[in-house]
Symmetry: C2
Subunit: 335 residues, 2 copies
Amino acid sequence: MKIDDNFYMKLAIDEAWKYQLLTYPNPAVGCVVVKDGKLLAIEAHKEAGLPHAEVNALKTALLSKEPNSLLKILENSSDIHEYLIKNHNNFFNDCEIYTTLEPCNHEGKTPSCAKLLSILKPQRVIIGSIDTNKVASGGIKTLEESNIKVTTKVLKKECDNLLLPFKSWQNKSCIFFKMAQTLNGMIDGSVSSQRAKLYLHMLRDKIDLLLIGGNSVRVDKPTLDTRYVKGKNPDIFIYSKNKVFSQNIPLFSVPNRKVIISDDLFKILDYKFIMVEGVYNLLDILKDKIDFVVLIVSPKIRDGINATNSLNIDFEILHENYLGDEKIVFLKKRD
Amino acid sequence: MKIDDNFYMKLAIDEAWKYQLLTYPNPAVGCVVVKDGKLLAIEAHKEAGLPHAEVNALKTALLSKEPNSLLKILENSSDIHEYLIKNHNNFFNDCEIYTTLEPCNHEGKTPSCAKLLSILKPQRVIIGSIDTNKVASGGIKTLEESNIKVTTKVLKKECDNLLLPFKSWQNKSCIFFKMAQTLNGMIDGSVSSQRAKLYLHMLRDKIDLLLIGGNSVRVDKPTLDTRYVKGKNPDIFIYSKNKVFSQNIPLFSVPNRKVIISDDLFKILDYKFIMVEGVYNLLDILKDKIDFVVLIVSPKIRDGINATNSLNIDFEILHENYLGDEKIVFLKKRD
């Protein structure tokens, strides 16, 4: 295997996908630092409010030289910025910094990464996707004005794929479809492991609205909360023509939650980040409205209700990770 | 992500899996070379008779220093060994060599890798699986007698998983089940892409026997050859109680092939490396006889015949790769 710009960018991409969706409303971004050929850091942005991928990677890289410095205990992005600016001692001058997205150029919850890099003066910054966000863009210009060599569009398609959720929630409502099944497409009953359920609760904590079919609510009597992660419980949209539901179904008793019962899907566009939890019949209805599918696959073959309806959809696999022993597959419908 | 022994071993493992089964009768092995912290080579053993993973990796590593040397054009393992021994100039003394399997200690089609390493004297050799093959084992002892530091059992389970096919064909007949399906488990018709078919023909070129169900032969009228790779065509075992087949079915006209029609599965044990091409009903019959499953998944949802029989099997995912836009998943039945 060739060890080149693509190789290091791929490491950054894979790291970023681990936190995909969990960075909402920020994009998932990964960053790799290579110093004179030595791989020092593979990091990602993990959650809004926490340091950007570049800051995490620069911190890890400098810690490889001074593992017991004060830097080790700094968590706040501003503090890390400040430390790096004061204590870099030209450490980064022979470093190559791979980042899946153009470093941000604006001061948001954290100071600008492009500004930080222009002070640390790495040998080269390698960028996958160009930032089209008007507020944050301009990072490349800032770097080049500081005479830092910039290489762009390395694994651009893969880096752009990483931004697909971000771009959809930035421009409009982001709607994704979450589904769980066995290897052979069996969908009934409790398919997923505890680890996958934990992940699902992390997603529910991030979204604004959870859409579910009326039949699922009647049959499964779900709670649809975030108890495993003690997170915020999303509002619920029950998609149903029949508006009558037993108020004993646990989801109605979750505090600080709005429950909408409607068959008018237009109403969900009041929300920004929407997860649909369903199976194939709901996917059939929503297939042209969703931005991507999150499929959790349990490596089992099981007898049971299979997906036997007449759906014909071609997907592109955006990425895959493991959730413990199970797979999480991010799929985008092909046009 | 932590950049440690596990990280580099994982790179070696992933590279080796790309050539899994294609190295028959040799094991799939990967090797990574890191020189003073710089990642120089990620290589694998690709086919029996070609250089071992270590030799490929040592060659790539030295080429990073002298990219235009004679070494570049050497393909034969003995020639590369000889070149490395004469021209290493202590290049490897500050190298760490990660190998998924204990370096071989015997001269087979190529000279011993352990012997080669003991001459090149790397700083450290990091090993995943210990070689239990009586002929090739003893590599660690050879290294330690040359005062080379050896670290063993790094990602041992993952490295042992990589050897699963090798161990099964070494000890007895290796029987694996190849199946193709869509995301939702649809199995009828032509599911796979041209790229997946190419891979299938590469597998057929390696195996000794291809087992297929009588019904598939009658319905699909297959050729079961290796025309895409111009390889050797395996013998065929048609598993069928009814022994009457039209001799116009193309598979009977493939030259240099024996076709067995039988319902006595014991007969297949005359062969060493056996692929079953089938779907769920045949898997149900053979599930306790096979060593692993190779599942090719096309990222589509399709209406059609689904796997709706009453199989209940739990698998462990051994590994996954991409075959173009499709997935190839190696599965092992859990006990």
